[in-house]
Amino acid sequence: MPNIIETKKLDGSDILEINFGPQHPSTHGVFRMIVQTEGEKIRGLRPIFGYLHRNHEQIAENLPYAAIMPYTDRLDYVNALANNFGYALTVEKLASLEVPERAEYLRVIMAELARIVNHITVIGFMLNDLGAFFTPLLYAFRERERILDLFEEVTGSRLMNNYFRFGGVKRDLTALHLATIHQIVAKFPAFLEEFETLLSKNEILCMRCQNVGVLSPETATNAGITGPVLRASGVNYDIRKVDGYSIYHRFDFKIPLGKKGDVYDRYYVRILEIRESLKILEQALAKIPQGEILNKKTVPFIKMPRNFKPPVGEAYGRVESPKGELGFYVVSDGTPQPWRYHVRAPSLINLTVLEEMCLGQKIADAIIILGSIDIVLGETDR
């Protein structure tokens, strides 16, 4: 393995090379980084990924379009619904399918719930990396549980929710489900208040997070960083606003922006994003119409997925996944399988600036910087 930098310093003392992972409690899966340290200070860092490579794209190119949908759940397994959303959007673009009004609302509701789940999980795990022994994580999980129970009832699964279909969704939400969501949304701000009084102003947390792992807006935009990591650096870029895909342009919500671009901003921007998601949910619940949940044209393909053959062409669909811009690129040659299928995984691209953020920081900081980027190895390695 070639060295990133010389292992000997000019004065002859050694630089310690430590291997974090692929088995390590805080690398969020089988991520590995080789860290070169001088005492506690980081002098070099090299991320190594691919341990969870499952040949996702190649497998997808040999499957009928509809059969790829459950595979996308396994990309970012913390919020499977955003992946569903992105892929459904792409294929609908390719085959020019319309989505019924009610289905659009259901999609937005589920995707925003998934965003909340993702953000509280990330915040919980990040604080765990900080050494707050599981308490914030379990508080977050208590709230997450309510949403996951709802997911289980509606989609049949807690994590791998295979819910979206081309031109709609799989199952309708009953009035009871909507009432449950209403309750979750109503109770959530109280939980966030509790969470924040415990943590946001904690001096140790501020000391550890503020001015640590600063990512400048220039670096972030040059490296193609997206999602909360980019917005924490102060760049106003949210695909829900930029593209206004689905029906996001109808809702009134704001994009929280950080100033410094440090770990604390990334932590706090996520909390603010949860609040905005709650706003979207409230509006969606108030306005949801009655009607169809699946485009009539796609109904026959549910029984016979191999008959679904989009016209020759290509499409790139993207959504604002909780981790950043999640894009699907699909090329069709008129056969039941896509000719080319590619995923733009935000976790992977956000990881590229890890070294830049970590250089000169302490070992303990590298762990929380990694935690604040929010990676899921299922998506990074595919």
Partner: protein
């Protein structure tokens, strides 16, 4: 009523005297003296591990409640047999020694860490006349023995030939040595006031009416207690000062390469240290076994367990410090504070009560203001977040 009270108070002392009297009837005197030593020794050797076992259970239960879950409740009623199940598991685990490890030192380290932890129990006054050995240099003995615990940790980290262990060992050496200084100095006021190093005398000085003349009720006492307790938390590697074994960074720090019973020995030492340090903190500032109405040993165990619960509470709620912050806190904040505290104690000794209170509060306020002002290189920023369209 009075008799029953004093009987329960002295129950362990009476029991020992009774056994010795029984032996004295048909055995020579030197065997009786030996038996007296053996009884105290065996009591301590049993007490240490039992306390450790049930502290782990207490910690898991309390942390469970903090994190709104139940904690262990499957083995025995309220999970009371859980520590025994853990013990059996630890004994049956394979003992793995890394190929490159320094095998002798790797073996010696866990043994060496338990011995001083047990030795400290000798000078802890568990109740009235319940100090195993009432040494006239008791506190000095405690400081000397407890500082040995650094060495085995460093031995473990070095002999494992593991980089995580090495980093953990480096952190330990730095942390424990730095926190030993303010800890010792924080205890000096209590020694000055009782004019003795014997732990038993320190407790007796705090008697007063109703046994409530505790040192913590004075300005220097409360400062000393807080500093001592914080240092004690750091000394036994408990959060938020648990850098040597920082789970999220260094996997398990110095005991990464240990398994089975050797690993359990490290834990045993850690919990016994936590207990004795809390016990000594209670002795020095909370009046030890002094207290009204209840038997003396109930007071001692009550105070010690309360302090341990505070340590567990820390663990359940605080994020971890970073190395540089940790060192700065010890050297720049705690150390000057303890030095001023010693000055306060001297003032307290030589001025009248009301004037002493006035002086102490003034000096402390000025000192705290100065220390906070000077040390505050970091001020949490108030941040405003833009909500863009």
């Amino acid at each position: 009523m009075e008799n029953i009270g004093s009987f329960i108070d002295m129950i362990f002392v009476t029991a020992k005297a009774w056994i010795l009297a029984l032996l004295g009837q048909f055995l020579p005197v030197w065997i009786v003296v030996l038996a007296s030593i053996v009884i105290s020794g065996v009591a301590i050797l049993c007490l240490g591990p039992v306390i450790m076992m049930y502290l782990t259970l207490l910690e898991r239960k309390v942390i469970g409640r903090i994190q709104n879950r139940y904690g262990p409740n499957r083995v025995g009623i309220w999970g009371l047999l859980q520590p025994i199940a853990d013990g059996i598991k630890m004994f049956t685990k394979e003992d793995i020694v890394p190929a490159n490890a320094d095998k002798l030192i790797h073996l010696l380290a866990p043994i060496m860490t338990v011995v001083p932890a047990l030795m400290i129990f000798v000078v802890v006054p568990f109740g009235r006349q319940m100090t195993a050995a009432d040494l006239n240099i008791g506190f000095l003995y405690f400081i000397a023995v407890s500082s040995i615990t650094i060495l085995p940790i460093f031995m473990a980290s070095w002999s494992s030939r593991n980089k995580y262990s090495l980093l953990g060992g480096m952190r330990t050496a730095a942390q424990l040595i730095s926190y030993e200084v303010p800890m010792t100095l924080a205890a000096v006021p209590a020694i000055m006031m009782s004019q003795s190093l014997s732990t038993n005398t320190i407790v007796l000085t705090q008697a007063g009416s109703f046994g409530l003349n505790w040192f913590i009720f004075t300005p220097w006492g409360i400062v000393g207690f807080i500093v001592f307790f914080l240092c004690a938390t750091a000394e036994c590697n408990r959060p938020p000062f648990d850098l040597p074994e920082a789970e999220s960074e260094l996997v398990a720090g110095f005991h990464t390469e240990y398994s089975g019973m050797k690993f359990a020995l490290f834990y045993m030492a850690e919990y016994m240290n936590a207990f004795t340090l809390c016990g000594i903190a209670a002795t020095l500032f909370l009046g030890g076994w002094q207290g009204p109405f209840l038997p003396s040993w109930v007071w001692f165990f009550g105070k010690t367990l309360a302090l341990i619960c505070i340590m567990i509470w820390f663990r359940g709620t605080f994020p971890r410090f970073r190395v540089d912050h940790l060192m700065a806190f010890a050297w720049k904040f705690l150390l000057p504070l303890t030095l001023v505290n010693i000055l306060l104690t001297a003032l307290w000794q030589f001025t009248s009560a009301s004037a002493a209170w006035l002086f102490s509060i003034m000096i402390l306020a000025a000192m705290l203001y100065m220390l906070v002002k000077l040390n505050r290189v970091f001020v949490p920023e108030k941040r405003n977040y833009v909500l863009a369209d």
